[in-house]
Amino acid sequence: MSGNVVENLIEELTRLPGIGKKTAQRLAFFIMGMPDKDALSMADAIITLKQKARFCRQCFNITEDELCSICRNSSRDRSKICVIEEPSNLIVIENTKIFNGLYHVLLGALSPIDGITPERLKIEELIKRVKAGGVSEVIIATNPNTKGETTAQYLSQVLKPLGVKLSRIAYGLPIGGDIEFADEVTLSKALEGRNEM
């Protein structure tokens, strides 16, 4: 019986991204060795997340309330909207502490070959936000890959006629890397987007 309990947990943990059978085994035995209070707190956090988490009515970030903490925060610059693909991108941008505007999460990126059309993303909702007024700049921070670029170009087509300033996050080399290992497209983009010193 006890064997089944451990096996069940290992089986469940292998569903997580990047977790194989061996890592799942290690995690399962680590959880078994944890104090009851800590293990139950972890389980409770998962249950609470699944029961209470939903998308923000305005920006589609994950929240417990109707509006997320960023949309509710009156000190944020409401004239700037940063468009991102997934809620996980928001956390990374917030960690930079550079951007003080609002966000709009598309919940995906356009992909013709996968049938991901504009209607399947939160693009119509973004257009409505911009049309509602008060927005002076939309920063497109979709991923620097083909799907992200296609999405950025589509957004540019539908938002430009609304008279709002559009900008795209810069392409370039990752800090800490060596130029000799960069591919030609990344390096050419870095050269094109160079800054005057």
Binding site: P17, G18, L110, S111, P112, I113, D114, G115, I116, T117, P118, E119, N145, T146, E149, T150, Q153, Y154, Q157, P174, G176, G177, F181, A182, D183, E184, V185, T186
Partner: protein, 252 residues
């Protein structure tokens, strides 16, 4: 076993946390799928070499006849990033990629299809902006002809009668009134095709691709031929192409 080949990325699909499954059209192995470990991380050595439509030289590691070898090295020969940075070009080329993926068998080498697809990438990259719509359609027509699935749009496909302007998707050809009407079967759906569409289609296939910029079809001709080809493909595949639905949705 380590193998090396040249390929064009037709599709990249996210897998797991930061991995990709990449589908290539290769010169000597046909369509193959391969696994890349962590290319989505910003400091990945793969860089942009696994992005769709990139022409690369790749090294693969896996057992002989492995269905999913691992990509160990990927060097860009031509990135074709200009296509990815042009929305209409990329959407149109996605449709061609989907046609190749849907209508050519996996792991059957065809140097002809590989060379043709590569030529199409060069052709679209060098096309003038005002001729792009026609060039996209010419590329699609020629691709269908290269892989052997081009519909017949001139003359009757059954009896060879010269005059025939109704295309029957069920038959993949135009048919004359006599051949189309069989007393025992119900009337089949057809599309009436005008002469300009037939001329443009015929010249698209017959003219050398580098001279196709001399073809100047009007918007109506492009729209009609595009509709005929979509119906033909839907019948062949028993479903609509995802990229066709994408284009239709984006136009609304």
């Amino acid at each position: 076993m380590q193998t090396r080949t040249e390929g064009i990325v037709l599709r990249s699909q996210k897998y797991g946390e930061a991995d990709l499954i990449v589908t290539y059209l290769t010169s000597d192995k046909g369509i193959i799928r391969a696994f890349a470990k962590s290319p989505r991380k910003t400091k990945s050595r793969f860089g942009s070499s696994l992005e769709p439509l990139t022409h690369t030289r790749i090294s693969l590691w896996g057992k002989e006849h492995s269905s999913m070898p691992k990509i160990t090295q990927s060097d860009i020969i031509n990135s074709f990033h200009q296509i990815r940075e042009n929305y209409n070009d990329f959407v149109s080329l996605s449709k061609l990629s989907e046609i190749v993926l849907s209508l050519t068998p996996a792991e059957i080498p065809s140097k002809q299809i590989f060379s043709f697809f590569l030529n199409i990438l060069h052709f679209i990259t060098s096309s003038e902006e005002d001729q792009k719509d026609a060039q996209h359609l010419i590329a699609m027509v020629r691709l269908l002809a290269t892989i052997g699935y081009a519909p017949r749009l001139s003359g009757c496909g059954k009896c060879g009668a010269e005059e025939s302007y109704d295309f029957y998707p069920d038959s993949g050809t135009t048919l004359c009134a006599k051949c189309a009407s069989t007393p025992l079967s119900p009337a089949k759906p057809f599309i009436r095709i005008n002469n300009k569409v037939i001329h443009f289609y015929t010249h698209s296939i017959e003219w050398p691709i580098n001279k196709s910029n001399r073809l100047k079809p009007n918007d109506q001709t492009l729209l009609e031929l595009s509709g005929v080809l979509d119906r033909h493909l839907s019948h062949l595949l028993s479903k609509k192409l995802r990229s066709s639905e994408f284009i239709a949705g984006a136009c609304q």
